[in-house]
Amino acid sequence: MLLPSRFSRMLEVVSAMIMDLLGIPPQVLFGQLLIGLINGAFYALLSLGLAVIFGMMNVINFTHGAQYMLGAFVTWMLLAYLGIGYWAALVLAPIVVGLFGIVIERTMLKRLYHLDHLYGLLLTFGIALIVEGMFRYWYGVSGQRYAIPAELTGGYLLSFMFLPTYRAWVLVVSIVVCFGTWYAIERTRLGAYLRAATENPTLVRAFGINVPLMITLTYGFGVALAGIAGVLAAPIYQLTPLMGQNLIIVVFAVVVIGGMGSILGAIITGYALGLLEGLTKVFYPEAANIVIFVVMAVVLLIRPAGLFGREK
């Protein structure tokens, strides 16, 4: 891809400045920032799903990591067993995973709403162990391969870095889905019902709206978001049964930092922390794994409700 010449000149100057000032080749810096941004795209999608579920049901969905893994595995299975490719999987896999979530909600989670919310956490934790354990039993830990779809291979050679097409695609999908969700919840009539039901379910039921159904669908939708993240991850991340379990803890930290109250907060925090992690990899690689947890501790000390949260 050719950039307008003046813009690319400018980038070259900036690149040279980065090299002089920081002593780091700009390719390395931007490369890591891109990886950070991609990670951030996944953090945003996953924490958005958690926030949607939590906002409606007050349940922390510990199965979220397993459902992300399921999304990736369903994508792989569709191709391996049924010959269904990436583009169809992009729609089918989230639906399958979402249905799985709906079954969980209808058969188990539903029974726990009148109890302390901690039981929801414990139940979903148990389900995550079962799902991940079974997939590990069936497929081992070595990981499967899933090729990047032909339309999205290759990349753009920019003057300061190489941008693989698929990574750009992940970013675009993530942004579209995140803001689509935000719009649906904050700006549409259905979203208004949803928010009303969060505030006062009894009153909303009195208006003739089927709140239990809404709760079920909300859970299914939140889980489907994890499924979408899984499909996006299948071609670029290690496709193993355990791919979700460490990621989900980072996402929990992201959620605590952003504060659960806000949809937009979850999205922004996800991207920002992904970038921060990328930056840390450039300047102090040893701390890259823990930087998000450190940020969480600091945020809790300064603003216990989280950056975008409201203290209830």
């Binding site: 922390i60 901690l118 934790f125 605590v256």
Partner: protein
């Protein structure tokens, strides 16, 4: 926010302070009598047990029983669900192993170092985590513990993926050779009983009463003038210290400190032990720990992966069996009121 539903559930489970208060003195002394009865039966059994069972297995069960009991102090009596107790257990295991192997400290000091590690980590974690409640508390402790996991993976003294192996058991108080399994068993048992007694005394002290009151109704405890955060922090630190003690003991018994000890599955396991045995009961977590450890021992030979079984028990416990084994027994023994 969640206070009302919490209270409803806890009163329903019936093992809490509200019950004892409602029943007045007779029920309290009944609980006490039961406690003594269990102790009188259990202690001699524990003393003769190593002649019938493999001592290392029994020691593992004791370490986890202490770990779960320490955890229960926080969850069962303080109402705080920590999902990061592996950090105290595993962090202490590393420090104790390092102290015994590299610094050459004797058994008692090495284990003490483990408890001190638990104390220090507990103080830091507690100060951060008690700023949030309920679900957030669980997530914050989980995230902080994951930080300890990554530190254990990366710090030079922990041996990365290998962990610290071949930790010498040493000599207890300069007299008792701990390389003999039976000797180590009795030392472990002694420490376990002492720590268990400490937990029992804490729960039944005025401090324990206030802690339960905070669990039942935090706003009311505040309005009565209690410094709620301080009470919670003390419970957290005490729980972490004892979890550290258990971790240190475990490291010496197995002569190994590894990433398994700090992994978040360990945090989940201790929750399960407590839930299965009965949270908020004195003996429940120990019973749950023994059951889970036994189960893991036998399941290792079966084809079905252990996490699946653990997960299934979790689901069953949460859906059908929230009082746990000891909790159900207590409910059966207690005369029905109302």
């Amino acid at each position: 926010m969640t206070a009302t539903s919490e209270t409803a559930e806890r009163v329903e489970t019936g093992a809490g302070a509200a019950d004892a208060a409602a029943a007045g003195r007779p029920s309290m002394s009944l609980a006490k009598k039961l406690g003594w009865a269990v102790a009188i039966v259990a202690v001699p059994l524990l003393v003769v047990a190593p002649h019938y069972f493999y001592p290392v297995f029994l020691m593992k069960a004791l370490c986890f029983a202490l770990f779960a009991s320490a955890f229960n102090l926080l969850l069962g009596f303080g109402g705080l669900l920590s999902f990061g107790h592996a950090a105290f257990f595993g962090g202490a295991a590393y420090v104790s192993a390092h102290a015994a192997k590299v610094w050459g400290l004797p058994y008692e000091l090495a284990v003490l170092m483990g408890a001190v590690t638990g104390f220090g980590l507990g103080l830091v974690f507690g100060a951060i985590a008690i700023r949030r409640q309920g679900i957030y508390f669980a997530m914050v402790t989980l995230a902080l513990a994951q930080m300890v996991y990554f530190l254990a993976l990366q710090l030079p003294f922990t041996g990365g993926e290998d962990g610290i192996q071949h930790v010498p058991r040493g000599v207890f108080l300069g007299v008792i050779d701990l390389n003999d399994n039976l000797n180590l068993y009795y030392v472990t048992l002694g420490i376990f009983l002492a720590a268990f007694w400490l937990i029992y005394r804490t729960v039944h002290s005025p401090y324990g009463r206030v802690l339960k009151a905070i669990r039942e109704n935090e706003p009311r405890a505040i309005s009565l003038g209690y410094d709620v955060d301080r009470f919670k922090l003390i419970a957290f630190v005490l729980s972490a210290t004892l979890a550290g003690l258990a971790g240190g003991m475990k490291a010496i018994v197995f002569q190994l400190a590894s990433l398994t000890d700090v992994d978040w599955h360990m945090s989940g396991e201790v929750v399960l032990m407590t839930l299965l045995g009965g949270m908020g009961t004195i003996f429940g977590p120990a019973v749950g720990a023994v059951l889970v450890v036994t189960l893991q021992n036998y399941l290792a030979r079966i084809d079905i992966p252990v996490p699946v079984i653990i997960g299934a028990i979790f689901v069953v416990c949460v859906l059908l069996f929230r009082r746990g084994i000891v909790g159900e027994l207590e409910a059966l023994l207690k005369p029905r009121r109302r």
